[in-house]
């Protein structure tokens, strides 16, 4: 058995288990811990696909920045009240199950219908190259310059918006 298959099995198992653990925990902070673990396993899977830049960015952005902010909020808020909401109202529970089943069927349909490996090139060297930061940087600043700048501009606008919302009185 080659090493890639072993790694894939381990990482996939961790990813699947941690995501199930995440949605079944009662304590929101513990859920967040499992979500971080899940991000890690995903980053490992990206590495196996030769997408090293995405793997590292996955850890830096999701695990390192976004989840820290989530935890920040979760630790300071008392999440007991939200917990009560789902126990009391049975209607919400059934609605949630319905939505979950619908999304599950949708995703399963898409996975079995599409053929994601049809675009893969058999050339391994090209596939390793396309995951490097050099290639991604070159593509971003040439072929995808306008979308890249537009998304940068949007993020700037969002930052300013967040500042305005956070500061109640703007002197």
């Amino acid at each position: 058995m080659n090493i890639e298959i072993i790694l894939f099995a381990v990482l996939a198992l961790v990813a699947a288990t941690s995501s199930v653990m995440m949605i079944t925990r009662k304590n929101a902070v513990i859920s967040a811990v499992f979500l971080v673990l899940n991000f890690f396993a995903l980053a490992g899977l990206y590495l196996l696909l030769n997408a090293q830049f995405i793997a590292v960015v996955q850890v830096i952005v999701y695990a390192g920045a976004i989840m820290v902010l989530f935890l920040f909020v979760l630790m300071l808020l008392n999440t007991e009240a939200e917990h009560q909401l789902f126990i009391d109202k049975r209607g919400i529970k059934f609605f949630a199950i319905f939505i979950a089943a619908f999304v599950f069927i949708e995703i399963a349909f898409l996975i079995f219908k599409s053929n994601p490996s049809k675009n893969l090139s058999p050339d391994q060297a090209a596939s390793i190259n396309s995951g490097t930061i050099q290639t991604i940087g070159q593509q971003l600043y040439t072929n995808y310059l306008i979308p890249f700048e537009v998304s940068g501009f949007l993020l700037l606008a969002a930052t300013i918006g967040a500042l305005v919302l956070a500061k109640k009185k703007f002197e």
């Binding site: 902070v29 513990i30 830049f53 590292v56 850890v59 390192g64 920045a65 935890l71 920040f72 930061i133």
Partner: protein
């Protein structure tokens, strides 16, 4: 080289690094106490062994023999996990730091770095951004107000200073045109050290490194007068030792990163022009790397015992209103260097 040879060589390197790190950390604590004594005109530890040289071992045994207490209201699993996260992050970072050039030993070509990955700098950034978790979990899981406040403070502080740290590194990357630490070191040939070429970036990086390692003057997460012990108030025995170890290991990491990114790494200016033989050159270069790192470690301690702690709002103002704009300015400066001088 076959895959097994690669794995065995890597394991030997990892073992060497871990053993060396543990010893270095033990003696760093000793030197910290000696230097603080010297700065405060005291004698420092001088009872255990010659000039107190066995003090670190006494300290370690004292910590390990203490009772391990988990508070009743603590979340037991996370409380145990937190110090291990801190340690994991601190030790995993060493993998990408080159302590010397490639050498030939018993017919093998060996890089003096555990893993020479081409995104090494990003790897370090990813791991340091995870360092927050050890402290945050410790703070939350202890079920104590002091711990929680310490944990929240530290995550705010580390997130804020990560921004200026990232932007300072961007300046280095622009000049070296690579994310691999080995290539960054090679790009600083001669006197082209990044500390000399981009002094502003050097300063912002060093200040951010102090904040990231939670060292004085930025040790607010564990400010004794207000937060008892901060996030590790409720820790004792081995788990406390874990945090202690992680703090010093992080300090070594920060010093090594500063050396690699800004002080030319293992390079000695124009050593290849002197016509020394290869073995001597490599030994001198490894020595140079260790010397630069040791100097930065001394600098860390020197600052700790010289500058008082910042107030929390001062810390945030410094981070966002001074360090962040300065690191942006540094990028502009590097751009000018590249455009005008074609570096």
């Amino acid at each position: 080289m076959s895959i097994w040879e690669v794995i065995i060589i890597s394991l030997i390197k990892i073992l060497l690094i871990v053993v060396l790190m543990l010893l270095t950390v033990a003696y760093l604590v000793y030197f910290e106490r000696k230097i603080s004594a010297w700065i405060q005109n005291r004698k420092g530890p001088n009872r255990v062994g010659w000039h107190g040289l066995l003090q670190p071992f006494a300290d370690v045994f004292k910590l390990l023999l203490k009772e391990d207490i988990v508070p009743e209201k603590a979340n037991k699993a996370l409380h145990t996990l937190a110090p291990f996260i801190a340690l994991f992050v601190a030790f995993a970072t060493y993998a990408v730091i080159p302590i010397g050039p490639t050498i030939e030993l018993f017919g093998y070509k060996i890089n003096l770095v555990v893993a020479d990955v081409n995104i090494g700098v990003l790897y370090v950034l990813a791991l340091t951004s995870l360092g927050v978790y050890g402290i945050t979990f410790a703070g939350w899981s202890s079920g104590s107000k002091y711990s929680l406040l310490g944990g929240v403070r530290s995550s705010a502080q580390m997130i804020s200073y990560e921004v200026s740290m990232g932007f300072s590194i961007a300046g280095v990357l622009l000049l070296s045109q690579s994310l691999s630490p080995t290539k960054i070191v090679e790009a600083q040939y001669g006197w082209m050290w990044n500390a000399i070429l981009q002094p502003i970036g050097f300063i912002t990086f060093v200040v951010s490194a102090f904040a990231e390692t939670n060292r004085l003057p930025f040790d607010l997460p564990e400010a004794e007068p207000e937060l008892v012990g901060g996030y590790h108030t409720e820790y004792s025995s081995f788990k406390f030792a874990g945090f202690f170890l992680a703090e010093y290991a992080n300090m070594i990491i920060a010093s090594m990163m500063i050396t690699t990114l800004y002080l030319g790494g293992y390079q000695i200016p124009y050593i290849d022009k002197l016509g020394l033989n290869q073995t001597l050159t490599v030994l001198l270069q490894v020595g140079a790397f260790l010397f630069k790192t040791a100097f930065m470690l001394f600098f860390f301690m020197w600052v700790r015992w010289s500058i008082p702690r910042f107030r929390y709002d001062q810390l945030m103002n410094l981070g966002w209103k001074v360090m962040f704009p300065l690191s942006l300015l540094n990028i502009v400066w590097v751009a000018v260097l590249i455009m005008v001088f074609r570096l």
